[in-house]
């Protein structure tokens, strides 16, 4: 019986150990406790304690899981409780940290509840304090809580604190922006208030009235600044802002006052900036300036850009737009000196100063073309000034093409030019002058800078819907001609298309006709001459003129010679071409001379070849048929030389006589009236007498 009892306890302990090893501490503890009741052993008690501890740890881990689940569900209270219970067993640092966080968050949540309650009760200052606390509980970065705090502060009249918070917030919603602007207005920052309220699109009369009130306060504030001669920069900026905002903010009277404030603030601030040599800032003001560009402002632009161009060649271009119009403006010239006679001297001095500045940047890509452009502008403005001299009307149109385009007054200048056509020496001068003020003007500057490819852009770039006039037509004809000539000189053989408008151009500009003919005669390479010949031929057919006809004749003759010299044509072809050239211009002395020289040269060459091959018949025929005595002189020279050689030889007398007789016979077929023929005849007669005697 005892044995059975022992066996029973052993099996209980065995089961307990098995459960223990499997990690099933709950069943293991139950078995160990059953065994302990019967045995009361120390080792079993230790095992029971071990199981109890393991069970507590498992339980704590379950609590951690529950805490996480509760956190996910937003049940911060339950999560905190679970973490606290778990950590009583586990005692881990991370759980302690989480417990602290939850406590903060729960405090914050409480604070938000308190804040809402305070807001509802109208205690906005307390609400703001609670929101601050809640925000702190969330690390101080909760934008929604900060916004609520700031809005409560506005409600509580604590504007400065509210503004400090608003400044840090993105403010995407209308409520926040309104309160921010409201707080700014209350602090006297009217300009900032209007800027914050700027795009609040709210159709509410009370809000519109508030904006008007703030705008008027801003106006009054700017007047005060002006009276104190204080902060001209703000006067300028804020007045500028008021002018470009909604018209309904100001009455017409107020608007006029703001315009004056703007002009006043701008001029005074510019003077301050000028003293400080802040030219860049002045140019920014002038660039964004509204209102008319008066002569004073043109002059200011001129000197500001001049100052900037002293250090930076990129500014030259803009400087040149203003410089000449400024110094040719009569109202500016009045400030030069009391004496009208001295104005021109001062102008020349100022022109020289600008030229020196341009030369300073000559080696840069900005300075390269500037001098040419300035020279063009100088001529243009001097002409405009000359025909507006002694006129009070239109003096503000004395400007360069650049400024006219900038002011949108090019058409007015063109009308003025058209009305004064008689002022110009000829049609070409008139058209070229006006063309600079058209949309084609920029291309003419490029042309004058020998930038032919850029200038030719006119032929393709000009908008098709652009209204063409005589000035633009002229510019297109001129550029087409000059570009064609440029390509021609550079070996392009297909240039006729560029000269299609040239006949009409030559009617206006005879100097260009001379230019083409002179260029044509300056080349010697036969392929280039051929291209020139083609162009001249085309123009001659379209618009016959003495100059082109004579040039064509010369070019034809020269090309024929060049081809012949290169072995690319025979004397017959040469003669044919030169004869055609002579037909075009019988006075073509060059053709006459060329034809003579060349034909003589080729006839003599052929004659000497015949001599060499002892073909006296052929040589005699060439000499006989030649139009030139020079050929015959050489022929008889050869006869004489041959006679002397025969005589110098010690051949038999009969043999010599036979040979001399042959010479004489061939010679008579060419001409008998030659000294050598007399010598031959005398020699033959003497020998004949001796034979007979």
């Amino acid at each position: 019986m005892k044995k059975k009892k022992e066996k029973n306890i052993e099996s209980i302990l065995a089961r307990a150990e098995k459960f223990f090893l499997d990690g099933n501490f709950s069943l293991a503890m139950k078995e160990f406790e059953t065994a302990q009741k019967k045995l009361t052993r120390g080792d079993i008690a230790a095992k029971i304690a071990c199981c109890r501890k393991a069970l507590k740890t498992d339980n704590a881990k379950q609590l951690v899981k529950k805490a996480r689940k509760a956190e996910k569900k937003g049940d911060l209270g339950r999560a905190l409780k679970c973490f606290q219970q778990a950590n009583a067993v586990l005692n881990e640092a991370w759980i302690a940290q989480r417990i602290e966080n939850f406590k903060w968050q729960l405090t914050g949540r409480d604070a938000v509840s308190l804040a809402k309650a305070a807001e509802a009760a109208g205690d906005l200052l307390r609400a703001a304090t609670c929101y601050a606390k809640a925000c702190d509980a969330r690390g101080g970065t909760s934008e929604p809580l900060l916004l609520k705090r700031a809005r409560c502060l506005v409600g509580a009249g604590r504007y400065a604190e509210a503004v400090d918070i608003f400044k840090t917030l993105p403010l995407t919603k209308a409520g926040g922006r309104y309160d921010y602007g409201f707080a700014l207005a209350q602090m006297g920052c009217f300009s900032q208030c209007l800027r914050v309220w700027e795009d609040l699109e709210v159709n509410d009369d009370r809000f519109a009235e508030q904006k008007r009130v703030v705008a008027r306060r801003l106006g009054a504030h700017l007047v005060d600044c002006l009276k104190r001669k204080d902060d001209y920069a703000s006067i300028y900026r804020d007045a500028f802002y008021l002018l470009k905002t909604d018209d309904a903010l100001l009455t017409p009277d107020q608007r006029r006052s703001v315009e004056n404030l703007y002009a006043y603030g701008r001029s005074a601030w510019i003077e301050e900036l000028w003293e400080a040599e802040e030219f860049e800032a002045i140019s920014d003001i002038l660039t964004t300036a509204s209102g008319p560009l008066t002569p004073a402002l043109v002059a200011l632009n001129a000197k500001v850009w001049f100052k900037m161009a002293e250090d930076d060649g990129r500014r030259l271009h803009t400087m040149l737009i203003y410089w000449l119009p400024a110094i040719y403006s009569p109202s500016i010239a009045e400030s030069f000196s009391g004496s009208i006679g001295e104005w021109q001297k001062v102008r020349q001095k100022l022109i020289a100063m600008a030229e020196n500045l341009i030369k300073k940047h000559d080696d840069t890509r900005y300075g390269g073309r500037a001098l040419t452009n300035f020279t063009i502008d100088k001529e243009l403005i001097q002409t405009l000034a000359a025909f507006l001299e002694n006129q009070e009307k239109d003096v503000d149109l004395i400007c360069t093409p650049g400024l006219a385009a900038h002011l949108g007054r090019s058409d007015e200048v063109l009308s003025l030019i058209s009305a004064n056509e008689a002022f110009f020496e000829n049609k070409q001068q008139y058209l070229e002058f006006g063309a600079h003020y058209t949309a084609a003007g920029n291309y003419l500057y490029r042309l004058k800078n020998n930038a032919y490819e850029e200038a030719a852009g006119l032929l393709t770039d000009l908008q098709p819907d652009l209204e063409r006039d005589e000035f633009i037509d002229y510019a297109m004809q001129l550029i087409s001609f000059e570009y064609g000539l440029h390509r021609l000189e550079n070996g392009d053989t297909q240039t006729i298309r560029y000269f299609q408008s040239t006949p009409a151009l030559f009617d206006i500009a005879p100097a260009l006709e001379r230019k083409l003919t002179q260029k044509a005669l300056a080349f010697e390479a036969w392929d280039l001459l051929k291209s020139f010949e083609d162009v001249l031929f085309y123009i001659h057919n379209e618009r016959p003129s003495k100059a082109v006809r004579k040039a064509l004749s010369l070019v034809m003759a020269r090309r024929a010679v060049a081809m012949s010299n290169n072995g690319q044509s025979n004397p017959k072809a040469l003669k044919g071409i030169v004869n055609k050239a002579l037909k075009l211009d019988p006075e073509n002395e060059m053709a006459t001379g060329v034809i003579q020289d060349t034909v003589v040269h080729f006839e003599m060459k052929a004659m000497y070849t015949a001599f060499k091959r002892q073909k006296m018949g052929k040589a005699s025929r060439i000499a006989r048929e030649s139009e030139y005595d020079e050929v015959r002189d050489h022929y008889f020279g050869f006869i004489e030389e041959s006679f002397d050689q025969i005589m110098a030889n010690d051949w038999e007398r009969e043999e010599k006589l036979m040979m001399i007789n042959d010479l004489y016979k061939w010679g008579t077929t060419v001409g008998a009236l030659q000294p050598i023929m007399d010598r031959l005849e005398i020699h033959l007669n003497m020998n004949q007498s001796m034979v007979n005697g």
Partner: protein, 93 residues
Amino acid sequence: MNPYKILNVDADVTQKEIIQAVTRAMREKRYSGRELAQAQKILLDPISGAAQRFLHCVDLSRIRQSLERIEAFESNRGPISDLTRLSIFDEDA
């Protein structure tokens, strides 16, 4: 070179003032004798002086003088406490 800056004189300086300014500038020794002489020469010459005045001096007081009086805001001074906060935006925070 800005002769007005070198001699520290205004645009409307007289010949007498130019000479006085040169004397003063010589004592101050901020510029060399050559620079001072050149500045004096330029300003005493009516043509060069006028050209330099155009380039270096800005006087826009004429623009300001031409403006009308600015009166339209006379009745809009003082604090803005009469501006009451509108509640129309309260729902849109």
